[in-house]
């Protein structure tokens, strides 16, 4: 089919090759120069970079808070910080880590990696991607500015009403928290939609579902989980803010609202949330293991099934957070069984990774060390999780430091260790340079041992009867030593993180320059230069197996025919990834930023008056209309082979 003037349009392939092609593509895809270009960019790599940097900033902030808490808890009856401030601190720690670090950083990794792994030039809906980052940033800043102003939320990251309701949480603290949730929900939902669309429609020709890298599978499952779970918490936080601001009665038992409604809605999101954070770790570990053992991951189909199974099961076990609320006992048995069932796919995964190492030729470099740390830590966390799934054990251990230990084992062990490994592994793809292996190993040991020293004693503290969320504990209950140990451990752990950050900052400038594929890995992201050019691939690669680079070490087959004078993506079919359409990819735009600014104004002012929702929607609508204003013929065209 021919368009416009009938003149042949510039395309890659026969017409353009080599340097000329690079130059032409670069002109088309490069972002505008200067600050303006930085602000308006729609390049998924740029946005992922700033997402990751922001998320790690929040990690550092949240980590500093945890150090303050550990200092307070190092000795019994300590008067270091006031209880009011302590409540804000632990709330901020949990909120920051869950909403502002863990979920966004995992999404950011997907935003960076998925288009590269599936051989596409950009993510789907790149402007939405830009918008999501600004929303996330605004939510994070809102929360932290509030904290600095001493109006940080203080009802815990779970914010159970009635404690978080209008009567027992005066002021705007909880409203700020609830609106922060709204910000991050918008951001997360946006990214998830992009990721799903990208994965389903933009895979390189030949990359059938069964040939997708495991991390892409995980991203698909996680994004769908986000789409299904996050609306629950967005709704819950809207209910809460309505209760607090306009006097609705959702959570007021006196007027036949129900305090437990919140818990159901929150944990319907909150439990999948844990897997949303953990499953990307599964993806990282699978990729790292394959690369560093130089063997394809054992049991690929099983791993995929396990990920899908966990994704489904995650929605059926939120009630195990509520065993102490006095729900009917028979119902508990179902949730016990469902919670325990998660151990089966997890166990299969663990086996597959160890089997891969066992059967491969492992190179013990930092990323693989993190995998081993992950396996050990996550297995321990999983086993304590099985204990907590049992109703009688949970009733004893619930809301104690045993649970604190458990979920840090699962979340840090299951998600942060793989993440640190993943950062080390893909660092050359981010920056073009390798991280220092020596410093990397040092920081690994600090992190791993510091972690165990911090959180292992907490199991014991919980069994001894130390409840969570206390700003102090009395002398003489035998809690002194375990808490002191944990505090020491926390500082060791913090040292490890500090070394990791130092390593990444130093390596960014002075690290060994990496080639396109420094680890001899198999995925498509290694088929392009490090860091990748704005257009990712000069030609769209064609895939015929799960390990394209191992199969075609020297010459990856490519397909040609995409326009080079316009941003164009190749769309393929959902299952078989046959080339289908050529789709224009949006140009840089400042409208996502303006839309984010107007939305921010709407969200923040709706903390103060419900009318803001009405008035504030006008500028939001204006910016959205400008953003979506049609700009000439943009219909996708069939592929010309």
């Amino acid at each position: 089919m021919n368009v416009l003037s009938g003149k042949e349009l510039p395309r890659d392939g026969e017409m353009l090759q080599g340097e000329a092609l690079h130059a032409r593509l670069d002109k088309t895809w490069r972002r505008d120069p200067g600050l303006w270009g930085w602000v308006t960019t729609t390049d998924h790599k740029d946005i992922a970079h700033r997402y990751i940097v922001t998320a790690f900033t929040f990690l550092v902030l949240g980590g500093l808070l945890s150090l303050v808490m550990r200092l307070q808890l190092a000795t019994p009856e300590s008067g270091l910080i006031s209880p009011d401030r302590y409540d804000q601190i632990f709330t901020m720690h949990g909120t920051t880590m869950m909403f502002l670090f863990a979920v966004p950083v995992m999404e950011a990794m997907a935003v960076f990696l998925v288009p590269l792994m599936i051989g596409s030039r950009n993510i789907a809906f790149p402007r939405l991607n830009a918008f999501s980052y600004w929303m996330y940033l605004a939510g994070g800043i809102l929360l932290w500015v509030a904290f600095i102003l001493n109006i940080g939320p203080d009802a815990g990251w779970f914010s159970y009403p009635p404690l978080s309701g209008p009567q027992f949480s005066p002021g705007k603290r909880i409203d700020i928290w609830a609106q922060m949730v709204t910000f991050t929900e918008v951001a997360a939902l946006a990214v998830s939609v992009e990721t799903v669309a990208t994965i389903l429609k933009q895979r390189a020709p030949g990359m059938t579902l069964a040939r997708m890298p495991l991390f892409v599978w995980v991203s698909l499952v996680v994004s769908l989980m986000v789409i299904f779970s996050m609306p629950a918490v967005a709704l819950a936080s809207s209910f809460l803010i309505a209760d607090r601001l306009v006097g609705t009665q959702f959570f007021n038992p006196a007027e036949h609202g129900d305090a437990l409604l919140w818990q159901h809605m929150f944990w319907f999101f909150g439990h999948p949330e844990v897997y949303i954070i953990f499953l990307p770790g599964v993806g990282f570990v699978s990729e790292i293991t394959a690369t560093f053992t130089r063997r394809p991951v054992f049991g690929y189909p099983l791993l995929v099934l396990a990920v899908v199974a966990i994704g489904l099961l995650a929605f059926g076990l939120w009630v195990h957070h509520m065993f102490a609320t006095g729900l009917p006992r028979l119902g508990y048995a179902f949730y016990t069984a469902a919670s325990m069932a998660v151990a089966i796919p997890s166990g299969i995964q663990i086996f597959c990774w160890i089997a891969t190492i066992w059967d491969g030729r492992p190179r013990w470099e930092t990323p693989l060390l993190y995998v081993v740390a992950f396996i050990i830590t996550f297995v321990i966390g999983g086993l304590t999780g099985v204990m907590l799934a049992s109703v009688p054990l949970d009733l004893e251990l619930h809301d104690t430091y045993f649970v604190v230990a458990h979920f840090h084992y699962v979340l840090i062990g299951g998600a942060v260790f793989p993440l640190l490994g993943a950062i080390t592994y893909w660092f050359p793809k981010f920056t073009g340079r390798l991280m220092s292996e020596r410093l990397g190993k040092t920081s690994f040991w600090f992190v791993f041992l510091g972690f165990q020293l911090t959180f292992a004693p907490m199991h014991w503290a919980g069994i001894l009867g130390m409840p969570r969320r206390v700003y102090t504990y009395p002398t003489g209950l035998g809690l002194e030593q375990v808490n002191l140990l944990a505090t020491i451990g926390a500082f060791v752990l913090a040292t490890g993180f500090a070394l990791f950050l130092v390593n990444s900052l130093m390596s960014m400038r002075r690290g060994t320059v990496a080639g396109a594929n420094p680890w001899d890995a198999s995925g498509l992201e290694w088929a392009t230069s490090s860091p990748p050019p704005p257009y990712n691939f000069p030609h769209i690669p064609v895939v015929s197996s799960r390990h394209p680079l191992w199969d075609h070490r020297d010459h990856l087959p490519v397909m040609t025919g995409l326009r080079v004078d316009d941003r164009e993506l190749l769309l393929t079919t959902v299952m078989e990834a046959r080339p289908d359409l050529r789709e224009p990819s949006p140009l840089p735009s400042s409208w996502p930023l303006w839309a984010a600014i107007t939305s921010t104004i709407l969200f923040i002012s709706s903390i103060f008056t419900p009318w803001a929702v009405l008035y504030g929607s006008v500028p939001v609508a204006i910016t959205l209309i400008a953003w979506f204003w049609p700009k000439g013929p943009v219909t996708p065209e069939p592929v010309i082979q």
Binding site: P83, A324, V379
Partner: protein, 318 residues
Amino acid sequence: MSGGDGLDGALFNRLFALFLIVSLTMLALVLAFLAAAWFRRGGVRQDGVADENGRASREPLLRALLIGWTALIAIGLIGLTFASFLTDRGMADAIPPDRRTINIIVTAKQFWWDVNYAFDNEPSKNIRTANELHLPVGVPARVTLKSSDVIHSFWIPNLAGKQDLIPGRVNDLVLLPNRTGVFRGQCAEFCGIQHAHMALDVTVESRAQFANWLAAQGKPAPAPASPLQKAGYLYVMNRECSGCHAIAGTAANATVGPDLTHLMSRRSLAAGTLPMGRAGLYAWVADPQGVKPGNNMPYVGLDANELHAVTAYLETLK
């Protein structure tokens, strides 16, 4: 170590031991496999090229192992689920419904426990105390749990698991202590600024001792004797104290704060914040917000004489 001093606790310990053994076994298996993988030198690549030592892939062996491993996990989980379910049933059925029990109504408030021993047929024998439970050994106690503000959680680690106290709902819990002793309970659900200082003293004693305690608690407070005590009595009756507290036998009958009738018989002050005693009383009455910031007892600003008098009177409330 928690558990073991009540029926639930004992069942908990058995179940916990079972879980611990199974978990440690699984962990040991994983670690052993991991160690084997660490020390094994090389296998193959997918392209079928044998490694330097000529060893071929052991894919079939791994498949068999995986099936075994999955089966092992499944069997273990089914076993644990059943054990857990049976224990749960055991806890629920341990006390026959027709067995005579002691009825206790515990109402959680920010940040203390209002405890009522309820005798349905004779309400005049009811006893109101605060932040402490006395239980006769071997007699089941049915605890009705209510909250008058936010969600709290009732937890006596040595005797039983937790149960939340949720406004607008009524929960209950049966305690069956099988050993005498002194235990500590604690609010387990974050309930606000002084969640950390919301403890409950539990005394499990013989039936005779318990009967004595009940009888003593049922008595009204004695009249003040010394002039200082009388001055304190007058202050308590006529000033801020009586707006929130009750003392049986006097005109003070308020319910906002803990009942003070037998204050000195308790083990601690302010829900486990201070040990009971003259020093604690002085500190608490003089500046409750300094001791437990954010609790609902206001700073009254007693002058020294008033403080001496009030404390002297409170010390008569044995």
